[in-house]
Every structure is written in C-alpha cells, then in structure tokens.
Amino acid sequence: MSRTHITCTVNGEDTDFLANPGTSLLDALRDELGLTGAKEGCGTGDCGACSVLMDGKVTCACLVFAPEAQGRDLMTVEGLSSADGVDGDHLHPLQQTFLEGAALQCGVCTPGFLVAAKALLDHNPDPTESEIRYALAGNLCRCTGYDKIIRSVQEAAVQLRSAT
C-alpha cells in the first residue's frame, strides 16, 4: 500500500505529511504531525474530542480521511492561541476564560470544546445560552455537567465582542 503525500496548512503553516488513504485525519495529525491536542474519544463522530477546523468549519477529524486534507486550511487546538489576531504568546480568550471559569476537569474533551466554541463565536459573536448549548452538543464532557463550560464561552464572547 503506497502512502499518499498530502500538502496543507496547519495552524497557519504550510505542512506536508504521508498517510495511507484510509488513515483518519485525526491519526495523521497525532501520529504524523505530533499534534496530539485533538483526542480520540469514540472514533465515530459522536464525542467531538477530535474537533478541528477545516477551512474554518468545525469537524470531527476522526471522520475525515487524511487525503481529504489536501490543500485545506486546518486549525487544531495547538493553533488557537495564535488565532483571532491574538498574540501567539498569549492565550485565546476562550482558553483564558476556560481556565478562570474552571471549565475543565480531566481536560480530555477541552481541546474539542475550545475549537468548537471558536467555530461558534466566529459566526455568531453573541450567542444565547441555548445557541451555545446546541452548538456544543456534539462535544461530550463527562466531568463538568457543562455548566462552567457554557459560562466560560459566554464570558469569552463578551471579551471578544468588546475587543473588536
């Protein structure tokens, strides 16, 4: 089986890697590129722990075949702190509000939530609580009961709105 050469942009940098056609983008990111922030919680698109942005759209990297990434622009949690024009040395407002709001316990779902929340705020800067809850319904968290996650997204939305 020959491996395919894939060229794409990951977290703002031109990147290339080799992968078998049936390899998931998630495995490619984790094993070929060493970006282990996205996690496999289910491998079937039901938990959102592997959420990444592909051309700005949030998706489960476990459902994407690696060759599909050809020419695409990808963002993983590792690229979040340099997104939205925030200085790369600092945290993204979502990361900061998650920390301050105690929105994580074990932390394994956190990268997926952060990426999905960014996708939400990118197209809906002032979401209602219900909109946040539905937008994050594809991300399972078993530790927090979601309360502090929702509040942290609300707070980040306020901060991002006031920054622009």
């Binding site: 078998n20 049936g22 984790r30 094993d31 970006l35 282990t36 922030g37 996205a38 996690k39 496999e40 919680g41 289910c42 491998g43 079937t44 039901d46 938990c47 722990a49 993983t76 949690v77 590792e78 979040l80 702190s81 945290l91 990361q95 998650f98 920390l99 301050e100 709001g101 105690a102 994580l104 316990q105 074990c106 932390g107 394994v108 779902c109 956190t110 990268p111 952060l114 609580e129 219900s130 946040i132 809850r133 539905y134 994050l136 319904a137 594809g138 991300n139 399972l140 968290c141 078993r142 530790c143 927090t144 009961g145 979601y146 309360d147 502090k148 996650i149 929702i150 509040r151």
Partner: protein, 743 residues
C-alpha cells in the same frame, strides 16, 4: 456559598486560583496515555469473545503470527494461573480469558504489530474453537434454584471456594424489630424497582504504553486512578516482583471509578517482553463499553413504615445487584449505604449476583445510587400520602451525629440537616416552578474513605515549593494540594508546583477513589508542610542567632520577638539552605482514618411531555456538604458533574443486551450520556460542616453528587404526572408506557 459553621477564614483555602495543570490542558500539551509515542513502538489489538459464555476448546495463533508486521501474540497461557482465593484471581482472568469466556467482548488474545491495522488484522486471524455454555443474564434467572453457573470459578465471599455459586455476596443488616414496627405503622408503602447497568462514560478510553526491557524491567505509562494499583495488579497478573515495574501516571481523561482496576497493562507488558519493543495498547470506544466496567444493574424491593405525623419507623429492603461475571463487593454496599434517616427498626439484605456480562467496576459512590433511587422514591410517596412537604418529612427524620447508619455505627458530625435547611432557604426552593414544571427533591449519602497516601514537599532555592503526591488528579486535586500547601507555608499558591509523581518518585499511595484525594493525600501534604515549618523555624533561629523556641512561623516567614520581630521569609531561608544544613524537604505518609461522610440534597424542576414521555429539566440545584471547600470551583464542578451523570442515569443511559448477552448499544450514539443542550445550568450550594478528622475540615466531595438525581427526577415526574416511575432509566418509552398504564 453557604458557610454554616466554619468560623475559620483562610488566606488561600477557599479561593479559586487557576488550576496548575490548566495551561497544558487548554493549549493541547497535556499528555494523556494515548498521546505518548516511543521510538520503535508497536501497536496492539485484541481478539475478543463473540460469545457471552463458552469454553475455549482451542486457540490457534499460527496464522496471526505469520501475518505482516506481527511481532508478538499472547493468550491466557502466557500468564500464570493465580489461585482462586488470590485477591487478583478475577482481574487476572478478566485481563485475558483462561479456558472460559465469561461475557461477550471478553479478551482472549492480543497481538502487537508495526501498525494498529496490522495488529487488528492479525487478531482477527486468530482461530478459536468454542463450546457454548448457557448464558445467565438476569437477576431472577441467576438466583433461581438450579440455575446454570455464570462463572464456575465464583464462590460466595465469606462462604468459600468449595461451593461455586451465582452469588458473590450476601449482606444482611438488622436492628430493632422491623416486622413489628411495620405492623404498627400508620402508613406502609412498598415498591419494587429495577435499574439498568450504566457506564462511567469517561471520554478517554483506557490506554497505556509499556516498554519491557531486556533487563526484565517494565516502564509503564498508564491512564488510571492509581498508578501504584496498576503496578501491583500488573505485577500480580504477570507473576513478577513489584519492583520490576515502574508506572508513570499520564493525565487521566476521566475515571469516575472505572479506572480503579487494570485491563491493559499486563497484556502490553507481556507483548513488549516478547517483542522486545515498546507496545501501545488503546481501547476503542466500543471496547470500553463492551469490556470495561459498567456499574451494576439492580432490582430492589423497599418497604417503609411511618407514623401519621411522618416519623419513619421501619425499613425493610431487599436489594440485588448484578455485578457481572465475577464476584465483586458491589452488592454489599447497597444495604450499607442506608444512612440518611434515623430508622429505629431496619431489616435489609443485599446480594451481589453474577451474570454473563462485563465485570463491573466502581462508579461514583458505588451501589448507593440504586438504593437511594428506591428509598427516596418511597419516602417521597409517604410524604405525599401524608400531605407533608418532602423537605419537612426528611428534616424530621434526618440523621445527625450519633444516629446509627444501617451498618450499626453511629455517625460522626455530619451535615444532612444543614443541607436540607440550605435547600429550603434557597432561591430555587423558595420560587415556584416555572409554568408547567413540577418539582422533586431527594437526598444522597456516601461514606467516603481514607486509605494510604504519601506526600513530599520540596522547598526550592528561590522560595517556591514543589508538592509531590501519588494521587492521580481526576478532578482538580493538584490545585487543592497547592492551596493547602500555600495556606500552611504562607506563600503564594502560584509559587507552588503540584506534581503527581511516578511509583519510584513518591511513597506508596492508594487509588484516587472514595473521594479521598483532597482528604487523605491533602492531610499528608499538610503534615509534610507542618514538618517543614518546624525546620524552617529551626533554620531561621540559626540565622537570627536566637533560640528555636522563640521563633514562630507567621504568614510565610519566621518571626522572633527577640530578633526585633523582623520576619525572615521562606525565600530568604531557602536561599541560605546550604549554609544552615542543606535542602529543605519533608515527607509524610499516612493511612488516613476519619473520612467525613458527605450528604447531598438535590432539587429538580422539570416538564413531562405526556404525549411522548419526554422529560425536560428546566431548573436543577445541588446542595452538598463539602466540610470545607478547598477550591470551591472544583467542589462545584464535582457537584455539577455528579448531578449530570445522575441525570443521564435517570433519563436515558442504559446497557441494552440481546437475549444472548450482546451489548446492542456500544457507542456514544446509542449509549446516551447527556449533551449540553439537554441541560439547564446546574446551580450549586456548598454547605460547610467541617470534618473534625481533617486539618482543614475536608470531606470528600467526588461521589455523593451522583446519588440523589435519579430519585430527584423520579419524584418530580411523579409530581408532574401522578405516576411513580420505578424503572431506570426513565426514558420516553418507559414514561409513556407508565402514563398509559395509569390511565
């Protein structure tokens, strides 16, 4: 936060700093076990049983061994047979079956290969011949006379191995004369309940990487609730000396009790030994659900008698817990967890019953939620029959210090009354439910445990401190350790680096379970800090040239009146450590007694769609006694997380088995844990009735929160519809059917 009787004010304890492990977790750098890769690493995969109960007639691995990329294959034959009375016997035959498969998904063999796909293909090529055995699936079926055995190697605990049985445990508890009291009661209500198996549902599947070297030593990186436990069980299953294994704790992606045992590590260690290369072994979600520990299913019959003015006079209860294919203590705890009310007369028995289903594992307050669902439902029905407010009836009977638990032991200082009063006074309870919504309340209890912990505190030359413990952090315990150390030493919480160290870098520490980490390991941290403060004062006395007895530790500095009262800071002392006797470090180890029981009271407002049976929770409040909340955000987090797991258990989570014992819903699509859009905010009220057995009054908070939700929701559904739900989960089809039956 409601501080009811904690008069102390602290500088750090009770504040909400950013958790020390938080940064790595929000930037994607935190290393969970599956995130680790070693040079030359192989990937492993299992062959699992397609039958729920069968003898293995033969296993042929030759074809698998010849497949591309395959470097090692193991079966049960690669492990020593432990004696049936060995405490690790059951886990050893669960890790890989020996001769008999006991449930669908039971591991039979494992393959290590260059890639995961090669390992999976080779595992599928292993040929096994089976001889099918009868499958035992239900509690009644297993307990019937002449029932086939689910596991011929099981015997009833405390009875003995001579008598194989489907019974794991039988625990009777009696006091007073329940029959007479029941006969004399003004009102008696009896109901039968059942609960489906549920899974802990941690988002991170079990994972490990093991590198067994040619020197015979194994380096293990594991995601678990206790790496010393992983070391001990791995050694026992392999028949190795404990010292051959070093376990480094990876970050753990949720456990909730499900990672208090071992599945992978002995298998990966043997594969690595055979292959001479590191091996990574990671479960899929399907494997997690099929083959790692669900919580027991149960059947319960509960009868409670009361006087017409609401005094509970007797309880008579029969509880049977389906503990899976192996003997387990889970069945014992159900009856023991009856501890919330005075009950002068009590007759309880609980059973652990086997079936050809996965080996159960602990899940947050194991076995208490089932019992509380049943008891709190019956108590609610008594309150409504008597026309009493459900909180008033509970207050009238609530256990206080000195009252007896079902085990017969008097309660120490507990905070149930304070929790009930706090809910009664809350905005939630004082407000009417929203239009169309109805309300339920229920109480939960959990013992909490102590066990062994070690801590080392190193003071660094720049005046900072490293706090090293052996307790995997599953909910924010590193932040708690840092806060207690900051309080003791009087330095900034961010000057403290809390670390969870490997089995060779810190003293033995039991599993993070039983809500014990902040209590017991915290106690060790405090003891080590206190020892350091004595040493700091001694060093300061040396520097100041005063008598040691004249130096006091105040607010992070040594102060001596005879030295003009000028404080010598911790940083100043550590900077001079070389001149005053060398590094400043202290270690404390203990076996903690005196874990403080924690009570919780929950309140739910919900709506029931009577045409579809769907329940929507519109408001939810959790009240819990934390003793002292070291980091209130993470105490709230435990309460909220436990509440939502309980809401899932109440409404939709269940193991659905086919008649031949195959789990039909082994994925997050059909094993329905709550999603964000299912829920309202979870309001919290922390009650603080300090535990006298902890220096800061800590009670464990991790588990109790899962105990009340099922009855809370069942009671609210009753208030909404008039129908008492007695079967978990209270899913839309069941609610609709119950509504139809009632019409």
């Amino acid at each position: 936060m409601t501080a009811i009787e904690n008069p102390k004010t602290y500088k750090w304890v009770g504040t909400r700093p950013i958790r020390h492990d938080g940064y790595d977790k929000v930037v994607g750098k935190a290393r969970f076990a599956a995130d680790l890769n070693l040079p030359g690493q192989l990937h492993a995969a299992y062959l699992r049983s397609p039958h729920a109960h069968a003898n293995i007639v033969s296993i042929d691995t030759s074809m698998a061994e010849a497949m591309p990329g395959v470097k090692a294959v193991v079966t049960g034959d690669d492990f020593p047979a432990l004696d049936i009375t060995d405490p690790n016997h059951d886990v050893s035959i669960n890790v890989l079956a020996r001769g008999t498969v006991l449930y669908h998904g039971h591991a039979i063999a494992a393959v290590a290969a260059t890639t995961k796909a090669e390992a999976q293909a080779a595992a599928a090529a292993i040929e096994v011949e089976y001889e099918l055995l009868p499958v035992v699936l239900g509690i009644d079926e297993a307990m019937a006379d002449g029932a086939p055995l689910a596991n011929e190697q099981n015997y009833q605990k405390f009875v003995g191995p001579s008598d194989p049985s489907n019974i794991a445990t039988h625990t009777p508890l009696e006091r007073g004369d329940a029959d007479a009291a029941m006969a004399a009661a003004d009102i008696v209500i009896e109901r039968e309940f059942d609960c489906a198996h549920v899974h802990q549902g941690y988002i991170e599947p079990h994972a490990c990487v093991v590198d067994t070297g040619a020197d015979g030593k194994a380096n293990v990186w594991a995601s678990s609730q206790g790496h010393f436990m992983v070391r001990a069980i791995t050694a026992a299953v392999l028949g190795w000396e404990t010292s051959r294994i070093k376990v480094t704790p990876a970050e753990i992606g949720g456990g909730f009790g499900g990672k208090t045992t071992v599945y992978l590590e002995p298998v990966a260690a043997r594969l690595s030994e055979k292959a001479g290369r590191p091996v990574k072994l990671v479960m899929s979600r399907e494997e997690v659900l099929r083959s790692s520990g669900p919580a027991p299913g149960a059947k319960l019959r509960i009868k409670i008698g009361a006087t017409s003015d609401g005094e509970l006079t007797a309880i008579d209860g029969w509880m049977a817990y389906q503990v899976g294919a192996y003997g387990d203590f889970a069945g014992m705890v159900g009856a023991m967890s009856v501890a919330s009310y005075k009950f002068p007369n009590l007759k309880l028995e609980s059973w652990g019953v086997l079936s050809n289903t996965p080996k159960t594992a602990a899940y947050r307050a194991p076995s208490a939620p089932h019992a509380a669902f049943a008891i709190e439902s019956v108590i609610d029905d008594i309150a409504s029959e008597l026309g009493m407010d459900p909180i008033e009836l509970r207050l009238k009977n609530a256990a206080v210090e000195g009252d007896l638990t079902a085990m017969g032991m008097p309660h120490p200082r507990i905070g149930l009354v304070e929790c009930l009063e706090a809910l009664k006074a809350s905005d939630h309870y004082q407000s009417e439910p929203a239009e169309g919504a109805s309300r339920g309340v229920a109480v939960g209890f959990w013992f909490n445990i102590g066990e062994q912990s070690s801590a080392t505190v190193n003071l660094n030359e720049d005046g900072t401190a490293t706090v090293i413990t052996g307790s995997p952090d599953i909910g924010g315990s590193r932040a708690s350790m840092a806060l207690m150390a900051a309080e003791e030493l009087g330095i900034d919480v961010y000057s403290i680096t809390p670390v969870v160290a490997d089995t060779e870098a810190v003293g033995f520490t039991d599993v993070t379970e039983g809500s014990r980490a902040t209590f017991a390991t915290g106690k060790a941290v405090v003891e080590a800090c206190r020892e350091l403060k004595v040493e700091l004062c001694r060093r300061a006395a040396q520097t100041m040239g005063v008598d040691e007895a004249e130096v006091e530790w105040v607010d992070g500095a040594a102060v001596s009146p005879s030295h003009g009262g000028e404080p010598l800071t911790l940083a100043a002392i550590t900077a001079q450590a070389k001149r005053t006797g060398g590094p400043l470090t202290a270690t404390a180890s203990l076996n903690a007694a005196g874990a403080g029981p924690s009570f919780a009271v929950h309140c739910a407002d919900l709506k029931v769609d009577e045409e579809t049976g769907q329940t929507t929770i519109v408001r939810y409040t959790a009240v819990q006694d934390a003793g002292t909340a070291i980091h209130p955000s993470y105490v709230e987090g435990q309460m909220q997380g436990g509440s939502v797991q309980g809401i899932g258990w109440a409404l939709n989570e269940e193991y659905i088995f086919s008649s031949d014992g195959v789990l039909m819903n082994p994925g997050f699509l059909d094993y329905r844990i709550p999603v964000a859009s299912d829920l309202p905010m979870i309001e919290t009220i922390i009650v603080e009735v300090p535990n006298p057995s902890h220096p800061y009054g800590v009670r464990g908070v991790g588990e109790t929160g899962i105990v009340p939700p099922m009855a809370t929701i069942g009671n609210a559904i009753k208030a909404a519809t008039g129908v008492r739900m007695t079967s978990l989960p209270m899913s839309p089809p069941k609610v609709l059917k119950a509504l139809g039956d009632a019409r």
